[in-house]
């Protein structure tokens, strides 16, 4: 009954303490979350992201990428702690920009949607306030805030306050913003963008992101293109495409072809390309 709730709270705290990495290089600092990729983790003194706030920014025309990176970090964090939950706070303008979270898609990414508590707020101030409340309540341990128009409110003082509170509460705060314009005291600042995937032929590959660590208070900066493995919930390097391979769009079809599905081999298309041309394109 009431004892169960207390038991669950204690269990959660013990898990958090156990999951922290041992001190590296005599630093004494412990990381909250390793990215799981040796090269990336080495850029951090503590071997991974530290307790505090981190900013994940997007680029113009690609609002989804920082959210995707945030969700992948969430997936890693929740996988390490079986009974933890995550709080996702979304500002209304961020929802309009990128859409709402889709359960089956999150599940495909390796993130358990049932462990997310999703809060939608009208504006950025409400979202930041919700993060503040969660930090004061010291639960859950990992918080993701998606800011849109209100990103400017996550300024120096706000992020500094988050850093202090998160360090005390041993929590991880991820803030996604449309860009890097606002000044921020976050421990790390990333620019995240989509990157081409490496499927065979013209198929899609695994999710791929271009990560640009612009500022790292306890470590070095760097740039990577990483692929996400949803089964292992880990980041992997992408084999660099050999120069000379040019990704071409689909060739124009010379005549209406019956049922030319996108995943059929392209040879059949070449064979039929010699048919007489005529009005063949349909604009949809």
């Amino acid at each position: 009954m009431v004892a169960d709730a207390k038991l669950a709270g204690l269990r959660r705290r013990i898990e958090r303490l156990e999951a922290s990495a041992p001190p590296r290089l005599g630093e004494g600092a412990q990381s909250a979350l390793r990215l799981g990729h040796a090269d990336v983790d080495q850029h951090f003194n503590a071997g991974g992201l530290g307790w505090g706030s981190h900013q994940l920014a997007g680029t113009a025309g690609d609002a989804l990428a920082p959210r995707a990176f945030g969700l992948m970090l969430l997936a890693r964090y929740l996988a390490e702690r079986p009974s933890a939950r995550a709080l996702v706070v979304q500002e209304a303008s961020a929802l309009r920009e990128s859409g709402g979270l889709y359960g089956p898609g999150l599940h495909a990414l390796g993130l358990d949607p049932g462990r997310l508590v999703i809060v939608q707020t009208m504006d950025g101030a409400g979202a930041l306030r919700a993060i503040n409340d969660a930090l004061r309540a010291r639960t859950p341990d990992i918080l993701l805030a998606e800011l849109g128009d209100g990103a400017g409110l996550a300024d120096l003082s706000v992020t500094r306050r988050f850093n202090l509170a998160a360090r005390q509460a041993r929590a991880l705060v991820l803030l996604t913003t449309p860009d890097l314009s606002a000044t921020s005291a976050a421990l790390t600042r990333w620019r995240v963008a989509a990157a081409p995937s490496d499927g065979r032929k013209r198929r899609l590959g695994a999710p791929t992101l271009m990560l640009d660590l612009v500022r790292n208070r306890h470590g070095r900066t760097g740039q990577w293109i990483l692929q996400w493995n949803s089964h292992d919930r880990a980041f992997q390097s992408v084999p660099a495409p050999a120069s000379g391979i040019v990704l071409r769009p689909f060739p124009a079809v010379a005549a209406p072809v019956a049922a030319a599905a996108g995943d059929r081999p392209g040879d059949a298309r070449a064979a039929s390309a010699s048919l007489a041309s005529g009005p063949y394109r349909q604009a949809g």
Binding site: Y102, A194, V253
Partner: protein, 523 residues
């Protein structure tokens, strides 16, 4: 059965008995047509084609009866209900307060008749007699017990049938017979009932206790107007309320704070908790959030001089932890969620649960309340991944966003499309994946949505509508031919590496411009 405006045609309520729909209740017009209770509906319709029928709702009837009972509490606290349509009042000592028994009865009947009910009353020394008089007596003149029919003894139909066959039709005839003979033929039950009616034996009555209101209030000598003063008083009231709840070992689900202004205006603020709550600090914390969320502030003007804090929906405190609510079992998290719900609205805080029954993307997931166990069922779902490639997008737009597409016909994926005034050149594509409207589920969602007069909250997309499902009206418009009732989905990637989930609505038909939409984004 009643209504403030009786329908023009005769009305009957129907219910299923013995596998047939039968009449449960009739109004005066239907009775006049010769219909009876228990008649099969088909026969009734044959006799009276103009009959209007509605489904009987015994739950609602019981609720109305309980409400009538509570209304009668003004006369006496000792009341009990006699379903389906009776209320018993113990008027001992109450009559003089209302000017005598007859005056009380007249007042009671008048009140109920004003509400549209038909009332029959009976007053007697014993409950059984009163029951008999109300149902079988004649309001215009006093009637002797002996003259009442045997049915007035409240026996079941079988016993009444036995009595009739024996030739006993009046209570007086039964009284004249020797008791041992009656006991032999009819059993002790009849004799008990007889004794209760005549007052020779006490009858057990189940009284309906008055629902105890949990509330505390405080009247102030000096009115207060500032928020922190109000909150300090709320904290103090919450402690007293917690004591009351504690005594009954219950917690409240809804708390109401009423602030009475000096000029008489009353302000009422409600907060809700996910689980029964008794801790005064948490109750106060919820009101802190509630006051902070007020757009116009307290509007205290000259101040409040009376504050009342009450708890509704009292439930045993243990209920709701452990298995019953399964979903969120961390006490601190529940408290945080309560506060966030109060601050941003209950619809703004939710979790996602899978809905394995539908392949339609919008309906494959639903938003559920925080404490719903269903949200933990994702473990049984197969992730939509194939060889490391995601098959479902991480985000979904509701409704899907129209895009302009250039694609080969008839089933080629897009080569180029423009969305939000940006043009994207497609370099990778997979598909089509055909998702058709599930005809076996009945109405198409757009028709169903059109008939539902609830509008989804317009504030935040995707907003829950129709019990939390993300509905979309585009999958097959009402005028669509069956070949439009499907979508061909394609997963495409543009030259920048952005990945999209787009679909074409319906099949390609020559001369018809197909509609394309963007439904979601892949990481």
């Amino acid at each position: 059965m009643r209504g403030p405006h009786p329908p023009a045609s005769p009305l009957a309520l129907i219910a299923k008995r013995d596998n047939t729909l039968r009449l449960e209740a009739l109004d005066a017009a239907a009775l006049a047509l010769g219909l009876e209770i228990g008649l099969p509906l088909a026969a009734a319709r044959a006799r009276a084609p103009e009959l209007t029928v509605r489904d009987a709702d015994p739950v609602a009837d019981q609720a109305v009866l309980a409400a009538i009972g509570e209304a009668c509490r003004r006369y006496t606290p000792a009341l009990s209900l006699d379903p389906p349509n009776g209320v018993h009042l113990d008027l001992t000592g109450a009559a003089p307060l209302f000017g005598g028994e007859s005056a009380l009865i007249v007042d009671l009947a008048a009140r109920l008749q004003r509400q549209g009910f038909t009332v029959r009353t009976g007053v007697a020394d014993t409950l059984g007699l009163a029951w008999a008089l109300a149902r079988y007596g004649d309001p215009s003149r006093p009637v002797a017990v002996e003259a009442l029919p045997v049915a007035a003894l409240g026996l079941d139909a079988d016993s009444v049938g036995v009595l009739h066959r024996l030739g006993l039709r009046r209570v007086g005839q039964i009284l004249a017979m020797p008791r041992p003979a009656l006991a032999r033929r009819l059993g002790e039950g009849l004799l008990h009932r007889l004794d209760e009616t005549l007052g020779f034996r006490g009858a057990a009555v189940a009284l309906v206790p008055e629902p105890e209101p949990f509330y505390v209030q405080h009247r102030l000598a000096e009115p207060i107007a500032l928020e922190h003063q109000v909150l300090r008083l709320v904290a103090w009231l919450a402690e007293q309320l917690a004591e009351r709840l504690d005594r009954r070992r219950v917690g409240g689900r809804t708390f109401a704070l009423e602030l009475f202004r000096v000029d008489g205006v009353r302000k009422r603020l409600l907060v809700q908790a996910g689980r029964p709550l008794r801790d005064p600090r948490r109750i106060t914390a919820l009101f802190v959030e509630r006051l902070a969320g007020l757009n116009e502030g307290l509007e205290a003007d000259f101040g409040f001089d009376l504050l009342r804090l009450s708890a509704d929906g009292a439930e045993p405190l243990g209920a709701g932890t452990g298995d019953l609510l399964g979903g969120v079992d961390d006490g601190d998290l529940v408290a945080l969620i309560d506060r966030l719900s109060v601050r941003h609205g209950p619809a703004a805080v939710r979790r996602l649960a899978p809905d394995a029954q539908s392949r339609i993307p919008e309906q494959a997931v639903k938003s559920v309340a925080l404490t719903d166990k269903a949200a933990d069922a994702w473990g049984e779902e197969t992730p939509a991944v194939y060889n490391g490639v995601l098959l479902r997008p991480a985000t979904l737009f509701a409704p899907p966003q129209p895009i302009e597409v250039i694609a080969g016909v008839p089933e080629d994926p897009p080569e180029r499309f423009s969305w939000r005034r940006l043009s994207h050149r497609v370099v990778r594509a997979e598909g089509p994946e055909r998702i058709a409207w599930e005809w076996w589920r009945g109405k198409e969602p757009e028709r169903a949505a059109a008939e539902d007069d609830r509008t989804p909250p317009a504030a935040l997309p995707p907003s829950p509508a129709n019990d939390g499902r993300l509905t979309d009206g585009l999958l097959g418009s009402p005028q669509s031919a069956p070949d439009r009732a499907f979508r061909d989905y394609y997963r495409v990637e543009d030259d920048q590496g952005r990945r999209f989930w787009v679909f074409r609505e319906g099949a390609f038909a020559p001369g018809v411009r197909p509609r394309w939409f963007l439904h979601g984004l892949f990481p």
